[in-house]
Amino acid sequence: MAQVQTRYIGFALAATLLAACGGSNTQPVTANNSSSNSSQTIQINGAGATFPYPIYSKWFSEYNKLHPNIQINYQSIGSGGGIQQVTNQTVFFGATDGPMNEEQLKAAPGPILHFPTVLGAVVPVYNIPGVTDELKFTGQVLADIYLGKIKKWNDAALAKLNPGVKLPATDVTIVHRSDGSGTTYIFVDYLSKVSPDFKTQVGVSTSVKWPVGVGGKGNEGVSGLVTQTPGSIGYVELIYALQNKIAFGPVQNADGEFVKASVDAVTKAAAAAATTMPPDFRVSITNATGAGAYPISSFTWLLFYEDPKDKAAGKVMVDFMRWALTDGQKYCADLGYAPLPGSVVMVEQAALDRIKVS
C-alpha cells in the first residue's frame, strides 16, 4: 500500500509544482557528514499544508540568510499529501493543519512528533442585502445553518442573537469549500464540538458530506460566491478575510463571550489551551474558553520523526525549530498569522529535546 501511495503523491507533486523544483523532492538530504558541515550545503525537503506556506517560505528564506549553507525546501501539496510523504519518508518533515490520527500514526515506520508552529482561524462571512450591521453567531446557530435547519435569515435563533438588526426573510444560501482543506477541518471540528447533531450527521474531516449548499474551490472560490450571491454565508481563513478586507461576524466562545476574530484573539485561544496541552501537542483548540479567546482557531503543525534516519538533518531542523519558535514568530504579524503564546513555546522548546539527533 505504501508504494501505491508514494506513486500517487508523485503524481500530485508533478501536477502541483512548477518544474523549477527539479528532481530534488525525492532525494532526502544531501548532507555530507565526513567533514565539518559549515562549508557543505545541506538541503532538507518537506511537504504538506498549504495554509502555513507563506510563513514557512518566509522562515526558510530568512533562516537561509542566517545560515547560508542550510537550504530547506517546502512544497505546499496539502496536509493529506504531507502526512503521506512523511509516512513514506520521501521527505524529511511534513506539515499538517489537522493532527494525524492513530491510524495514520501507526502506518508510519517510526514515532512521529507534532510541533505547533503558528495559529490560524476560520471566520464566517456573509452577504445579506440591506444588512450593514455586524451579525453575531453562536456555534449552535452556525451548525444549524450548515445542517440546513435554519433556512431563512430572519430565523428566530438569529434574530434573538442580533436584536436591532433588521433581518430579511430571504433564503440562506450555504457556501462551503469543495476542495479538501484544513480550513474545512477546523470549521467542522468546531461545529462538531458544539452540536451533537452536526457530529453525527457530518463529522470531522478535511472533506465532508455537506447536507446542503454549494462548494467553492479555495478561499477565493468561497468568498467569490459569497460576495456575488445575495443571502449567502460561507467560511474562510482569517488571513484571507483580513488581507482581502472581507467583513465577518463575531462568534460566541465557550465562556459565552462574543469574540471577533483577530490575531490576538486566536493567540488567546491557544494560551487557554496551553494549560491542558497533551505532551504530543495533538490538540484541538476550537471552542476554547478564556476571556477574548476566538473559538474557531487551530494550530498548524510540523511533523518530525522522533528518531530520524538522517541525524545531521535532524539536528538542523531542531535548531531551525528553536529559531522559528522564538525569533521566527516576529514574522507572523506581517503575514497575518497569529503567533504562538509564550506558554506553548516553552513547552515545545523542552519537547524538541525528544528528537534524537545523535
Binding site: 500517487y8 502541483t16 493529506g80 476542495d179 465532508v208 455537506w210 467569490g224 450571491t229
Partner: protein, 304 residues
C-alpha cells in the same frame, strides 16, 4: 533497400505498440490502485450516490451523472455553433476575413482553463444568475428549472464547457470540410443546386469526419476539470434541474485528491478516475462504431 525498410517498419510499429502499452498501463494502474475500493463497493460504486469521506462510504453515481449531463448539454450548445463557424469559414467567408477568424477560434482553444474558470465566476455566473432570477415563476416550477437561483450549477458549467469545446470542434470540422473534393460542389451546382444545397451536400459528404469532430469535443468536455469545478457548485447530487449545483468526476478528483489521507478514500478517488477512463473509452468506441457503420453505407449508396 530492404533492411532500412524493415527498420522503418519495426520502429514505427514500436511507436504504435508503445501507445497501446501506455493505454493498457494506465488502465492497469488505475485498477490496481483502486483495488481496495473495487473490492469493498463492487458494482455499487456505479449506482450509489453517497460520497462521505468521514464514514468511508463512496458511490460515484452523482459524479458520473454530472459529467455526462454537463458534457451532453455542452455538445448540444456547442455543435451548432461550431459547425456554423466551420461552414462559414470554409464555404462562405470572404478571403480577407478567413485568417483572422481562424486565428481567433484557435486563440480560444489556447486559453488556459483556469482563466475560463475565473471568467466563469466573475462574468458568466452573475449573468446566469440574472437569467435565472428573471425567469417567470411558472417556468420555475418545471423540474428542468427548479431550485434557487444560485448562478453556479449545471447550466453555467454547460455554457463554459460549450465555449471551450467550440474551437476544437470547429477546427476539426473545418479541416474535414476542406477535404471535400471540389468536384462534389461543382457537381451539385451543375445539377442546379442552390448554394445552401451545395453546402448541405458537402456536409453530407464529410459527415463521418464531422461526427469525429463532435466526439473530440465530447471527449474534451468529459475530462475538463478546472473551469467546471469553479462554476458547477460542487454538490454531489443527481438532479435534472439545470440550475442545481452538481459535480463531475474530474472535479472531485482535483478537489479532494491532495487531502485524501486514508487508503480507502484515496482508492475511491482513483476508482473515479478508472470510471472516467472506462466511460471515455466507451464513448470513443461508440463514435468509432458510428463512423464505421456510416463509412460502410457510403459506397452502397454511391452504387445505388
Amino acid at each position: 533497400m530492404r533492411s532500412p525498410d524493415l527498420g522503418f517498419r519495426v520502429s514505427i510499429g514500436a511507436f504504435a505498440a508503445a501507445l497501446l502499452l501506455v493505454v493498457i498501463a494506465i488502465g492497469f494502474t488505475l485498477a490496481n490502485d483502486s483495488w481496495l475500493s473495487l473490492q469493498k463497493f463492487g458494482l455499487n460504486f456505479w449506482r450509489t450516490s453517497t460520497w462521505n469521506p468521514v464514514s468511508g462510504e463512496f458511490g460515484a453515481l452523482p459524479f458520473i451523472w454530472g459529467t455526462l449531463y454537463s458534457s451532453v448539454l455542452a455538445l448540444l450548445i456547442a455543435t451548432p455553433v461550431a459547425l456554423g463557424i466551420a461552414v462559414f469559414i470554409s464555404e462562405l467567408c470572404p478571403r480577407m476575413l478567413r485568417t483572422p477568424l481562424v486565428f481567433l477560434t484557435e486563440l480560444l482553444a489556447a486559453i488556459p482553463s483556469i482563466v475560463y474558470g475565473l471568467w466563469g465566476i466573475f462574468v458568466l455566473v452573475p449573468a446566469v444568475r440574472g437569467v435565472e432570477t428573471a425567469m417567470p415563476a411558472s417556468l420555475r416550477t418545471l423540474p428542468l428549472f427548479s431550485g434557487p437561483p444560485l448562478g453556479v450549477g449545471m447550466f453555467a458549467a454547460a455554457l463554459i464547457l460549450a465555449v471551450m469545446v467550440v474551437p476544437f470542434t470547429s477546427a476539426v470540422a473545418r479541416e474535414v470540410l476542406k477535404t471535400v473534393p471540389e468536384t462534389q460542389r461543382e457537381a451539385a451546382y451543375a445539377l442546379g443546386a442552390t448554394r445552401f444545397e451545395a453546402i448541405r451536400a458537402a456536409i453530407f459528404f464529410a459527415r463521418t469526419g464531422i461526427i469525429g469532430a463532435v466526439m473530440l469535443g465530447f471527449g474534451r468536455a468529459l475530462g475538463e476539470t478546472m473551469a467546471v469545478t469553479m462554476v458547477i457548485g460542487n454538490n454531489p447530487q443527481v438532479a435534472l434541474s439545470l440550475f442545481a449545483p452538481q459535480y463531475t468526476m474530474a472535479a472531485v478528483i482535483a478537489n479532494e485528491f491532495t487531502e485524501a489521507a486514508n487508503a480507502l478514500y484515496l482508492s475511491a478517488l482513483v476508482e473515479i478516475g478508472l470510471v472516467l477512463f472506462v466511460i471515455t473509452l466507451a464513448v470513443n468506441a461508440l463514435s468509432r462504431a458510428l463512423i464505421w457503420s456510416m463509412a460502410r453505407q457510403l459506397p452502397s449508396k454511391a452504387a445505388a
